[in-house]
C-alpha cells in the first residue's frame, strides 16, 4: 500500500474519480496547468484534458453557480475554492441554491456538487487564509459537511462524496496537508459519510473533535494517560449528518466531555454537540461539558498559535472535567 500525505491522497481520490466516472469534472482557480496552489490537482489536467479539469475565471459565485448548472445537467463537479475564506462570494449560491435544489424542485433536480476548500489556521496565513466557517454550512439544510483528519479518510470520504447524490462541503485541514503520511489503499474505497472514527479509545473522558484538531486532542490524550486518565478521542469526520449514536455512546460510557474546534466559540459546532448531549445524555454526565475553541475574535496573524487551541488548553479542560 502506498504512503501518502493528505494532499496526495486527495489528488489520488480525484484521479480515481475522474478515471472511473466520465461525469466527474474538476473546476476552480488555478486547478489546471498549475495544479492548484496546494498542488492538490497536480497532473490532473494533463491526464484528463482541459474540458474536464478547468481553470475558471476568478469569481467564486461563478465557480459554484456554474458547478450547480453542470450538476443539474448530469455532471458530478468537484469545485475547488482556493481558500475557504474566499467562499463568501459564493455563499448565496451555496446556501440559497445548491442546498435547496432537491427540495425546492420537489425532488425533480439534484445537485451532487462537491465543494472542496482548504480551511483552518496554523500556516501563517492571517485573517483571510485561516478561518473555519463550518458552522455556517452545518446550519443549512440540504448540505453535508465533511472534514477529514487523515490521508486515508480524505480519500475515502471524497470518493464516498463523489458516489453520493447530494452536495458536500468538503473542508480540508490544510495544516495537516503534508504533516501526516500513512498507508492509503489504491483504487476505489468509500469511507462512509456519517460515521465517526475513534482516533483513540478511552474510558474516563471523551474529546469530540474533527479536522486539524484531532492530532491536538490525541496529543492531550497521550499526556493524560501518563496521569492515569484514559481519554477517548472521537474524530467526527462528518458534521452533517452527525453520527449522534457514536457520540452519545461514548459520552454515556465516559460521563465527561470536552469539545474541541478551532472555529470561534459562539454558535460554533460545539454548541450543537453540547445541546445534543444535554438533551439526550444529561444523566450520564459527571461534569459540565466544556468547549475548547478559537476565540470570538477575527483570526490573528502574529498571535495565531495563541488563538488556536493546543494540547495545553485541551489538557487544562481535561483536568477540569476529571477533577469536577
Amino acid at each position: 500500500m502506498p504512503q501518502m500525505t493528505m494532499v496526495q491522497a486527495i489528488t489520488d481520490a480525484l484521479r480515481t474519480g475522474l478515471r472511473e466516472d466520465p461525469r466527474v469534472v474538476v473546476l476552480g482557480e488555478d486547478v489546471g496547468l498549475n495544479g492548484g496552489v496546494f498542488r492538490v490537482t497536480e497532473g490532473l489536467q494533463a491526464e484528463f484534458g482541459e474540458a474536464r479539469v478547468l481553470d475558471t475565471p476568478l469569481a467564486e459565485n461563478g465557480i459554484i453557480g456554474g458547478a450547480i448548472g453542470m450538476a443539474l445537467y448530469g455532471l458530478k463537479p468537484v469545485a475547488e475554492i482556493q481558500f475557504v475564506d474566499f467562499i463568501y462570494p459564493a455563499f448565496d449560491q451555496i446556501v440559497s441554491e445548491l442546498a435547496k435544489f432537491r427540495w425546492r424542485s420537489a425532488g425533480q433536480y439534484s445537485c451532487p456538487v462537491i465543494v472542496r476548500a482548504p480551511y483552518g489556521g496554523g500556516i501563517r496565513g492571517g485573517l483571510y487564509h485561516s478561518q473555519s466557517p463550518e458552522a455556517y454550512f452545518a446550519h443549512t439544510a440540504g448540505l453535508q459537511v465533511v472534514i477529514p483528519s487523515t490521508p486515508s479518510d480524505a480519500k475515502g470520504l471524497l470518493l464516498a462524496a463523489l458516489a453520493g447524490e447530494d452536495p458536500v462541503i468538503f473542508l480540508e485541514p490544510k495544516r495537516l496537508y503534508r504533516t501526516i503520511k500513512e498507508d492509503v489503499a489504491e483504487g476505489v474505497f468509500h469511507t462512509p459519510i456519517g460515521r465517526t472514527r475513534t482516533a483513540r479509545s478511552g474510558e474516563h473522558a471523551t474529546v469530540l473533535c474533527y479536522g486539524a484538531m484531532v492530532p491536538v486532542a490525541v496529543e492531550a490524550a497521550e499526556s493524560a494517560a501518563a496521569r492515569g486518565w484514559s481519554v477517548e478521542v472521537l474524530d467526527l469526520r462528518t458534521l452533517v449528518p452527525l453520527d449522534s449514536g457514536a457520540v452519545l455512546d461514548s459520552v454515556r460510557r465516559t460521563g465527561r466531555v470536552v469539545i474541541l474546534h478551532e472555529a470561534p466559540r459562539t454558535c460554533g459546532y460545539g454548541a450543537e454537540l453540547a445541546a445534543l448531549i444535554a438533551e439526550q445524555a444529561l444523566t450520564s454526565l459527571q461534569a459540565p461539558v466544556l468547549r475548547v475553541t478559537g476565540y470570538d475574535t477575527p483570526f490573528p496573524y502574529t498571535l495565531e498559535h495563541t488563538y488556536l487551541p493546543d494540547a495545553k488548553r485541551v489538557t487544562a479542560a481535561l483536568e477540569h472535567v476529571m477533577s469536577y
Binding site: 461563478g62 448548472g69 453542470m70
Partner: protein, 368 residues
C-alpha cells in the same frame, strides 16, 4: 464580437411590417397569438383571485407577452429554460397546464412543487424548466454551467437564461456572461428589460447606453430587440439559439418592453411612476400590435378572438375549480427531498411534527 444597439423591429408600432417577416408557419402564428391572449386573461383572472384572498401573491407579465412568447417559440422542447418570475408564460407555452400553474399559486397537493415555494415560483422538469429562488440573477450561472455540461456531453441542447433589467446589476449576471464567453458555451442570455425593478427605473439601475452594450465587456455578441414586437423577438432569439446550437457561442439579448402593472400584487406602481409613461407604453401594446398585423394578413378574425377568449376563460374557470378542490400537502412533504435519503435526525423531527399535527394559523400583520 460586436454589439448592435439598434432596436430590431419587424412590425412598427401600428402593426405594419417594416422588415422581412421570419419564417413561421401560419398555424403557429395563430397559436402564438392565442397564447398571448391567454397570458393576458390569466393575469386578469389571477390578480382578481389574489384580491379575493384566494391566492397569496401574483406577478403579472401584462405588457410582456410578446417577449415571453416569442423567446419561448425560438426554443426546442429539448432546450433548457432557467427563468424567473416574469416567464411562467414560457412554461405554459412548453406544455404546463393552467391547472398545474394554479395549483402552484395555491401551493396545494396538486402543485408540482407540493407547496414548497411561494406563488409564481413555478418550475417543472417535464418542460425542462429549472427550479429557481427569489434571489435575483442566480439562475444565470446555472444556465451557463448546464450549457457547459451539454457541450461536454456533445448534446445539442441550448440553455436559455432569463433575467430582468435589475438583474443585470447582480454579481451572478457578470459571472455568467464572463464564464459563458470564455468557455464558449451554448447559452442564450435573454434580458426582459421592462424598465422597472420594483420602484427603481432603468436610469437608476445602470449608466450604460443600453442593456445590450454590457455584452461588449465580455466580448460577447449583443443584440437589442423591440420586445413588444413578437416577430422581431422570434427572429432575434431564433438566430441566437441556432448560433449557440451550432457551436457559435453565447448571445446576450436585450428585449425592450414595459411592465404595465406593478412588480407584483403587493406593489402599487402609482407611488413611483408617471401615468403618462404608462400611457406611452399602452400605445405600444404587444398583443394589439401583433393582432393588427395578423388581421392585415387575413390570419385572424373577430370570431377567432371571441372563440379563443371564451375557450381560455372557460379553461381558467375549470382549472380554478379543480385546483381549489385539492387539499394542502401533507406534513410529511416538508421533510422529504432535503437529502436523497432522509437522515435519522430529520426523521425524528418529522415524527415529532406528525405527532403535533398542523400548526396554529396566524395571519401575518403584513401579508406579502
Amino acid at each position: 464580437m460586436s454589439v448592435d444597439e439598434t432596436l430590431h423591429q419587424v412590425l412598427d408600432v401600428s402593426g405594419r411590417a417594416i422588415a422581412p417577416v421570419p419564417d413561421v408557419p401560419k398555424e403557429d402564428l395563430r397559436r402564438l397569438h392565442r397564447h398571448m391572449v391567454s397570458m393576458r386573461l390569466l393575469d386578469q383572472r389571477m390578480l382578481s383571485l389574489q384580491r379575493q384572498g384566494r391566492i397569496g401573491f401574483y406577478g403579472m407579465a401584462t405588457g410582456q407577452e410578446a417577449t415571453v412568447t416569442g423567446s419561448a417559440y425560438a426554443l426546442r422542447a429539448t432546450d433548457w429554460v432557467f427563468h424567473a418570475l416574469r416567464e411562467t408564460g414560457v412554461c405554459l407555452w412548453r406544455g404546463t397546464t393552467l391547472e398545474e400553474f394554479i395549483c402552484q399559486l395555491i401551493g396545494n397537493a396538486g402543485d408540482v412543487l407540493i407547496g414548497r415555494q411561494m406563488p409564481m415560483h413555478f418550475s417543472d422538469r417535464r418542460v425542462n424548466s429549472v427550479a429557481w429562488s427569489s434571489v435575483i440573477g442566480t439562475q444565470l450561472v446555472h444556465a451557463m454551467g448546464a450549457a457547459y455540461a451539454a457541450k461536454l456531453q456533445q448534446h445539442d441542447t441550448v440553455c436559455m437564461g432569463y433575467i430582468g433589467d435589475g438583474g443585470t446589476s447582480s454579481p451572478d449576471f457578470h459571472a455568467a456572461l464572463n464564464f459563458a464567453q470564455v468557455w464558449q458555451v451554448p447559452a442564450v442570455f435573454f434580458c426582459q428589460n421592462n424598465q422597472w425593478a420594483i420602484s427603481v427605473p432603468l436610469s437608476a439601475q445602470t449608466a450604460s447606453s443600453s442593456i445590450a452594450i454590457k455584452a461588449a465587456a465580455y466580448g460577447m455578441r449583443g443584440v437589442r430587440v423591440d420586445g413588444n414586437d413578437l416577430l422581431a423577438v422570434i427572429q432575434v432569439t431564433r438566430e441566437a439559439v441556432e448560433r449557440a446550437r451550432a457551436g457559435g457561442g453565447p448571445t446576450f439579448i436585450e428585449s425592450l418592453t414595459y411592465r404595465m402593472g406593478g412588480h407584483s400584487s403587493s406593489d402599487d406602481p402609482t407611488r413611483y411612476r408617471d401615468a403618462a409613461q404608462v400611457q406611452y407604453w399602452e400605445e405600444r401594446d404587444p398583443v394589439r400590435r401583433f393582432e393588427t398585423w395578423l388581421r392585415s394578413e387575413g390570419l385572424l378574425t373577430d370570431a377567432d378572438l371571441e372563440q379563443w377568449t371564451a375557450e381560455v376563460q372557460d379553461e381558467i374557470s375549470r382549472a380554478i375549480t379543480s385546483a381549489e378542490s385539492l387539499p394542502a400537502p401533507p406534513i410529511e412533504s416538508m421533510f422529504s427531498d432535503v437529502y436523497a435519503q432522509m437522515p435519522a435526525a430529520l426523521a425524528d423531527q418529522m415524527k415529532y411534527a406528525l405527532a403535533l399535527g398542523k400548526g396554529t394559523h396566524v395571519e401575518g400583520a403584513f401579508p406579502l
